[in-house]
């Protein structure tokens, strides 16, 4: 336990916009239990603005729960979650307003199956951001083009492949013009041959400077695109640092054991 690194240690090569910038995500001493089952045991974690942080770890390590606590889809048991300096665990915080600034992409896509692709992208813009229809459609089309699916705006989710659905889900999140994106194992439900297209879109987002927190099993993506890699196990952050360092020369034996199985 003594070898665990404090989260605020500047190990990473950050693309943060100057030293004064508030971290996009800052998690302090976060604990989460489901009944008697403690899933997160005092997590300290942060993502700087413009940074791409990949979170890896065995299943049940709490990485998805950590991600879901950031936009409070899971209610933290204790601890603090700051999004751009705003405490989202504070009952006075307008959670819906904060959520419009955090794009989220799910493992199972979670597109709205009763709505066309275009309507999937415009619904929340109109309902949550109060944009007019014409403006919402314009933004939606721009983002559909960005993920390479401009020609499918009239399709329904069931008519698309898994990879296309996930790209639509990314475009839907982008249409809210979020400051950051959370990815919860975005390629885990995809057939292997469809993974590449989704990763390519994410790579492009990272290149544009989007702040990203990515829970993933794609070690290749973490190595190439990630600014920092966080390894979690048993509800704690075991090790973190430059992805090439952590993957190539893991310091902690639990990291070594995990990587020897997946690489």
């Amino acid at each position: 336990m003594a070898t665990e690194l404090p989260a605020d240690q500047p190990l990473h090569t950050s693309r943060a916009k100057g030293p004064a910038a508030v971290p996009a995500i800052e998690v302090r001493n976060l604990c989460k239990s489901f009944g008697d089952n403690a899933v997160l045991k005092g997590i300290d974690f942060h993502v700087d603005q413009g940074e791409v942080v990949c979170v890896i770890g065995p299943s049940g390590s709490g990485k998805s729960t950590l991600l879901r606590c950031v936009n409070r889809l899971e209610e933290p048991t204790s601890g603090t979650v700051l999004v751009e300096g705003v405490d989202i665990t504070d009952p006075e915080t307008d959670l819906d307003a904060v959520r419009t600034r955090i794009g989220m992409v799910f493992q199972q896509f979670n597109l709205f199956p009763h709505l066309s692709v275009l309507r999937n992208l415009t619904l929340a813009q109109q309902r949550a951001k109060k944009r007019g229809k014409a403006e919402a459609i314009e933004i939606a089309r721009k983002n559909l083009a960005k993920v390479g699916l401009a020609h499918r705006e009239d399709a329904y989710p069931a008519q698309l492949s898994g990879g296309q659905q996930q790209r639509v889900a990314i475009a839907r999140a982008l249409s809210m013009n979020p400051d950051m994106m959370l990815f919860d194992e975005p390629t885990s439900a995809l057939d292997p041959e469809l993974v590449g297209d989704v990763l390519e879109v994410m790579r492009q987002l990272a290149a544009e400077g989007m702040t990203m927190m990515v829970v993933t099993h794609e070690m290749g993506f973490a190595r190439e695109v990630g600014d920092r890699l966080v390894f979690m196990d048993g509800g704690v952050v075991v090790e973190q640092g430059d992805p090439r360092e952590v993957l190539g020369n893991p310091q902690h034996e639990r990291t070594q054991a995990f990587l020897s199985k997946v690489l």
Partner: protein, 286 residues
């Protein structure tokens, strides 16, 4: 021998196996054919029994009197069938609105709403619709010194709405709960509030899921409008069953019951076929 067995396939194998081979040596295909044959024989016997036992003269004069049937037209269409359809539509729409409210109350985080909705559903699903109609037509007006809008037909309709809402509420609640949790998470993560999430994301999917059971509910409601007769109705308010009963006593002949039954089937059969089609369609869609 070959050609013989081709000519009489039904009897030949039975005699052969019965005489020479014995029961245990019956081929599976032969046994299947024998069972099938026995079922046909039983069916034909049952039909013959009904046909011979029935008193066709009595049936013709009492139930199939064309003159009596002709006398029911056009009133049975322009009044009775029309009223049955109107009552069904009013009761269904009313039940849908009230049922939706009850379903949302039942899923509410606020305890008292849940308790009231649960109590309501349990009460009115547990009572016979006939009794509730009777209560609204006679007991409630006395107890509250209240004249129901639309007379006794109106009172009966309110009762039908209240009863159907209890069933519809349970159907809609099941539909809402059948929408995957990920749908709500996706909507909320996009910053949509609970109300918009319910209206734009959950309810459209829930109603799609419960369209077949709701159509079933509609068919049941069509038949339940016949219970309104207990409320006692003016001539212009009569629906199919009341109208038929009145015709029976006027004409001293039971043909009107048969005609009314046919009218019900003309309305309900297309709807039950629609339910079957919707169920098939829904299954394919998933």
């Amino acid at each position: 021998m070959r050609t013989d067995s081709g000519v009489a396939p039904g009897t030949e194998p039975a005699t052969k196996t019965g005489a020479a081979a014995g029961r245990t040596r019956l081929k599976a295909s032969t046994r299947r054919r024998l069972t099938r044959g026995a079922l046909y024989v039983i069916f034909v016997l049952a039909v013959l029994l009904v046909v011979f036992l029935a008193d066709w003269t009595a049936i013709r004069t009492n139930f199939l009197d064309l003159d009596v049937a002709r006398a029911m037209f056009p009133d049975i269409i322009i009044t009775a069938t029309k009223n049955t359809i109107i009552y069904t539509i009013i009761a269904f729409i009313g039940g849908l609105v009230l049922g939706l409210i009850l379903a949302l109350m039942k899923l509410s985080p606020v305890g008292p709403y849940r308790w009231v909705a649960t109590g309501y559903v349990e009460l009115f699903r547990g009572l016979p619709a006939l009794l509730v109609i009777f209560g609204f037509a006679f007991a409630v007006p006395i107890a509250f010194n209240w004249r129901p809008p639309g007379g006794s037909a109106g009172a009966g309709l309110i009762a039908l709405i209240i009863v159907s809402a209890a069933y519809i509420a349970e159907t809609i609640r099941a539909g809402i709960q059948a929408v995957p949790a990920g749908q709500v998470e996706a909507a909320r993560s996009l910053g949509m509030g609970p109300a918009w999430t319910m209206v734009s994301v959950v309810l459209p999917q829930a109603f799609r899921i419960v369209t077949p059971p709701l159509t079933n509910e509609l068919v049941i409601l069509i038949k339940d409008t016949s219970l309104l007769f207990i409320a006692g109705m003016t001539l212009g308010d009569r629906e199919l069953t009341t109208f038929a009963r009145d015709s029976v006593s006027q004409q001293a002949n039971s043909t009107p019951l048969v005609v009314a039954a046919l009218m019900y089937l003309i309305i309900t059969l297309p709807l039950t076929r629609l339910v079957a089609w919707l169920e098939h369609h829904n299954k394919r869609g998933r």
